[in-house]
């Protein structure tokens, strides 16, 4: 078939189809990152969806992005800051409480090894959440999700030197938090 004839019968991809093709490969990683920030599955899905809603009309811009994965995470991060962190100083009286014995512990316990691992992970999680937000973001992106320092700098809009120095300090603090005498393991080795 001639080229012009091919073109005549070729239906151009709609904007929606192009959008789906572009973002689909990155959705799970966006979700994972959203989960790391929000620590809640429903919030993570809502956050990803919210970002997608905003990006649908920007297909041409998405197509021009060289490395779309980190770019999407950067948009996700900004939206997360807008929706969640800036509401920390909510005008609503934030005094609320709960009975500690009612709490649902999330960590699984599937035998001794899994239990020990879960306990260690929980201690790490606690240590991670005790870090300053700026440090924690860098650890989550670099050490947990595997982005490079340059990508982290791009996502968080920092310079690479700042990322590296904060990462170094964050790791030192985490190591200190998990040092012998600080971390309690339920079973002796």
């Amino acid at each position: 078939m001639n080229t012009w004839l091919t073109r005549l019968f070729h239906t151009p991809q709609s904007r929606e189809d192009r959008f789906v093709s572009l973002v689909s490969p990155h959705l799970r990683r966006m979700y994972r990152m959203a989960y790391r920030w929000t620590m809640n599955a429903h919030e993570a899905e809502d956050l990803v969806q919210d970002v997608l809603v905003r990006l649908v009309p920007r297909v041409a811009e998405l197509e021009a992005v060289e490395r779309l994965g980190p770019w999407l995470v950067r948009v996700l991060y900004r939206r997360y800051v807008d929706l969640y962190r800036r509401r920390c100083a909510s005008p609503i009286d934030a005094n609320l409480s709960l009975e500690s014995d009612d709490l649902e512990r999330r960590a699984p316990a599937r035998g001794n090894d899994d239990f020990r691992r879960a306990e260690l992970q929980r201690a790490l999680q606690r240590a991670l959440w005790a870090l300053d937000e700026e440090w924690r973001d860098i650890v989550l992106l670099h050490d947990v999700e595997g982005y490079t320092a340059i990508e982290v700098a791009d996502i968080l809009q920092l310079n690479v030197g700042t990322v590296k120095s904060r990462l170094h300090r964050a790791r030192a603090k985490l190591k200190k938090s998990l040092a012998p005498g600080t971390l309690q393991i339920s079973e002796a080795c």
Partner: protein, 197 residues
Amino acid sequence: MSTKEPLSHSCPGPLGDDRLQRLLREMPAPEPEVGFERRVLRAALAIRHERSESRMWWFRPMRWPVAATAFCLLGLFLAKGGLRVNAPVPALADWEAATPRTVHIVLDSPRQLPGATIRVRLPAGATLEGYRDIDTLQWQADIPAGGNRLSLPVLVTGGTPEGIIRVEIEHEGARKALEFSIPPPSKDDGGASITTT
């Protein structure tokens, strides 16, 4: 001790960068629920369709007959009795007219909960004053030990909405969810409040 799990992984000892990074890399994150991709993409595209005013589908040449037919049908429909629509989303005017009802939630905490995450989810037809375009609000706060009160300025349109207010509190991986019905408006001040402990 499992052979799969190195001794150094779970036993106290000096923690090097490599080991720390390995632990961090292994930090679990759940997979999204089944159908996640389809769900978020469909929702995002549907919402954008609703908002979009620039698609101008009617401008495409082959759609003119369809548009003309629709126009005629609409004219007939209006002539026979007008348009009655039950809008699922309250209009801005409805929100403006709604009176805030303060819902007080009072609970006791046996200990301090620093950096707890508080999340409030509202049913359809209800929103928090000052946050009208969202149904879920989340923030972090240090919850002191003892009695505490959360006051929610809830706006309701069209009487008491079906559903409940869900308040979730998370602290260091632990979570508790509480659910409350929205009270009817009181007669004296137009608002209403409940106290739950």
